[in-house]
Symmetry: C2
Subunit: 132 residues, 2 copies
DNA sequence: TTTTTACTTTAAAATCGTTCTAAACTACTT
DNA sequence: AAGTAGTTTAGAACGATTTTAAAGTAAAAA
């Protein structure tokens, strides 16, 4: 399925701008990035786009499940092209994130989900720091 | 150990402002809060403090391990008085966090920590959503 | 003590990521 | 081809946090 079809399937109009971003993000390679990182990639691909459009697009893509947003206390939002359930190592010094595949973690025992709620995904974060 | 001693032990001068905050936060009750929440508590305790001081203090307290900062992609930083390793339920709609005690989760299998790094804490986040 | 020194607090300004505004534009439908 | 609903844009606005630099305070030295 090409990117135009992916956008349509997600209920998004395949505009020129969304196609440029889809071509960068939906290439099957897993990566973590910020809005600013993406703008740089757009610029170096010879295109340009308003930062407002980039934010709009990232929000739409995330809400449609084309990308994920990482839970992180950094001051900039971090997105992830890996939409499968998976986990992360986090170097708190540098903010670097490293993917952990879902099958590398085994949760043996999980608490009972609070009354009236459904489980909507489990994320394991392993904080790491450089050995001295 | 009283709060003055706790501050000194953490290497922090027990100033008037830090004592006011310590008296609110270090009462042994686990809670999640933002800088603004804390300012409201300070105000309703009959004190007042510059927001810059509150941020300074929270950063110091966090760096000393007196409180923790929660990994969260909300736009406001969320702090936690529970400094033991523990986990959270997160309602992504509302941002509400609910503590999960460490012994309620059992990690059966963990990935190998990357070369040159040390494990610095594991956090499990269970995203939940309201049942319709 | 008093003096000195380093650290802390403060209000206000600045910064930075993100969102809003409203006008121009464009994809899709009729 | 015309209509309409959704999209993009630059720039303004916003809100959380940090910086500034001057005044204040705790602890150390004399």
């Amino acid at each position: 399925m090409n990117n135009k079809e992916k956008l349509r399937k997600a209920g998004l109009r395949p505009t020129k701008q969304r196609m440029i971003i889809a071509d960068i993000l939906l290439d099957g390679i897993n990566r973590h990035f910020t809005a600013e990182n993406l703008q740089n990639e757009i610029n170096s691909s010879g295109n340009s786009m308003s930062i407002a459009t980039i934010y709009n697009c990232l929000k739409k893509f995330r809400n449609c499940g084309l990308i994920k947003q990482v839970e992180s206390s950094k001051d900039t939002a971090i997105f992830d092209t890996n939409i499968n359930q998976h986990h992360h190592f986090l170097d708190e010094e540098t903010g670097e994130l490293i993917d952990i595949e879902n099958d590398e973690v085994n949760l043996h025992k999980l608490p009972k989900i609070p009354q009236g709620y459904l489980n909507n995904g489990v994320e394991v974060l392993i904080k790491i720091k450089k050995q001295i």
